[in-house]
Every structure is written in C-alpha cells, then in structure tokens.
Assembly symmetry: C2
Homo-oligomer: 135 residues x 2
DNA sequence: TTATATACGACTAATTTAGTCTTATTTATT
DNA sequence: AATAAATAAGACTAAATTAGTCGTATATAA
C-alpha cells in the first residue's frame, strides 16, 4: 500500500534518461528500455504520455525519438506522475470530481477532511521535488 | 497508485471511534462496524492488530472490547499504519531489509536514493499527524 | 450453561497493475 | 519506390495485490 506504480518508476527513470542525454540525438524508447532494463512497450507508452502532456516532444520515423521540453529544474515529479497516472490519489474519494466516487460511506465518513490534508502534504512532496533533484 | 489500503482507512476510522468513545464501556468490533459501516470481520482484524501492537488493549468475553492505551495526542498515524500494514513502502526496494528485494535492477537503479528521500518525507507526513488531528 | 466477545488462520473473490500483442502511421535512408 | 526504424495507440492477458468471507477456538460475564 502507498506504493508508486511501476509506470511511475519507469517514468522517473525515463525522464532521468532524457535529462542526462539531451544533446545531439533524440533518445528512443528502445535506447531507454535497454539502458534502464525495463520493458520496451512500457517505456514506449510512458514516453507517449510525456509527449501528450508536453513534457517531451516526439519525433516520428527513423532517427526519431524524444527530447524534453523544459530544463530538469523546471519539471517537477508531480508533472511526471500526472502525465502517466490518472489515479494518484490517497483515497478513491480524493478525485477532483468526487461526484463519481463509489465510496459507500461518503456521507457518513468522518476522516475525509483530514485525509484531504494528508493528500495535500503528499502532493507537495512531489510538487517540491524537481527532475533535477533525481539526476 | 499511492493509495491507502481499505485496511488503513478502516484502521483510521476505528482508532477515531475508540478515541471518541473511551469512557464507560469498551468499544466492540461490532459496534465500530455498525457505526462506521464497514465489514465486521475487517474491523475485528484491525482491532486485533491494534492490541498486538499495543495501541489498544483488548478485553475478551461478554462485555469485552477495546480501549486505547494512549491519548489521541500521543498516537501518530504512522503507529496506526504500522500496526495494520507490513508493506507501506513507496517502492518494493524500500524495505528495511532490502536483501530480500526481488527488484531486478537494484544494482543499476539510479533513482533509488532520491526515492528514499521521498519515502522519508511521506513517512514524516504520517509521523507528524496525530490521531487527535483526525477527530 | 449460554450469549457475547476476541483471536486467528485459511480461503475466495474482486480489483488493480504489469506486461504483451497487433496494427497503423511517420520519416530518413538507400 | 522500397525499406528500415521509429512513434501512436488500443485490445488483450497474466500476475499480483487487496478486499472480504468462513470456520473454529478461546475467554468471560451473566
């Protein structure tokens, strides 16, 4: 419990690789998969998420690949997490739009408010850590 | 991802109930299950974990139940989490004894050290929040 | 003796996460 | 024009974790 997903771990690793290799060629999914010893298909998806979320720019075709859009200093871990996860919340009912929460005791729950505070603090840990800090 | 388990949510709720009802009778698993609308068997186990971990004292038999051992001010959320979870780590390799980690790239992992720091910060969130604060 | 409670392990079901497969599209190179 | 190397993306399967149930033993007040 309270575990980061492999997807997020791979995203951190991939972002790190992009940051360390941002001169000359574009880094490819294959290159990162080999270098970090993680499954190719999963890195590929992570990188696609980076591109969709403007963390990186993708170049298709031969000699293609990815490059970061910002300096590592200006990318926080929360950006990376949000790019690859749509559910990074401490409880189900923390969703921004909690109308669709299926929690059966939302109405009688006494611990939701304090947990929102916990959530905020945990968010902050990732907001306040930049990619540069994990190089 | 990064979600608290139901077990932990139930543990927070149960601890809260014990704290709010610590005069006169001992709170029972049934009472808490009914009051918080959570499955009896699960609260029962949570309470057993509290007893084993000296957070509460149990009284067996009719008119039995549980009472907290310390004031809510002196019980931190990390105590509650540790009582019910043996795996509350951000990554598999964060285990105190990481010799039994099965992570295949422990030796080439570049993000472990920064993640240890993240782990420490998240731990702190729970260390620094007392049961009193969620009443 | 009975009713009410905790203690606890084994088991099953449900959900989530991780990983794979397949196909389409883009583009540099030959 | 053909080929090879790359991204794009959805569907699917497998594995692992989490949630919940069942059964049985033990303790104790009435």
């Amino acid at each position: 419990m309270l575990k980061l997903s492999k997807k997020t771990e791979y995203a951190f690793m991939a972002a790190r690789h992009l940051a360390m290799n941002n001169s000359g060629h574009y880094s490819t999914a294959k290159e990162i998969a080999d270098n970090c010893q993680i499954p190719y298909q999963l890195v590929a998806k992570v990188l696609q998420n980076f591109a969709r979320n403007k963390i990186a720019t993708s170049f298709q075709g031969a000699k293609g690949g990815y490059k970061l859009n910002r300096l590592p200093d200006n990318i926080s871990l929360i950006d990376i997490i949000k790019a690859v996860e749509h559910n990074y919340q401490v409880t189900e009912c923390m969703q921004e739009d909690n109308s669709k929460s299926t929690c059966s005791h939302l109405d009688c729950c006494k611990i939701r408010d304090p947990l929102i505070e916990i959530q905020r603090k945990i968010d902050n840990v990732f907001v306040q850590t930049s990619l540069k800090q994990i190089l």
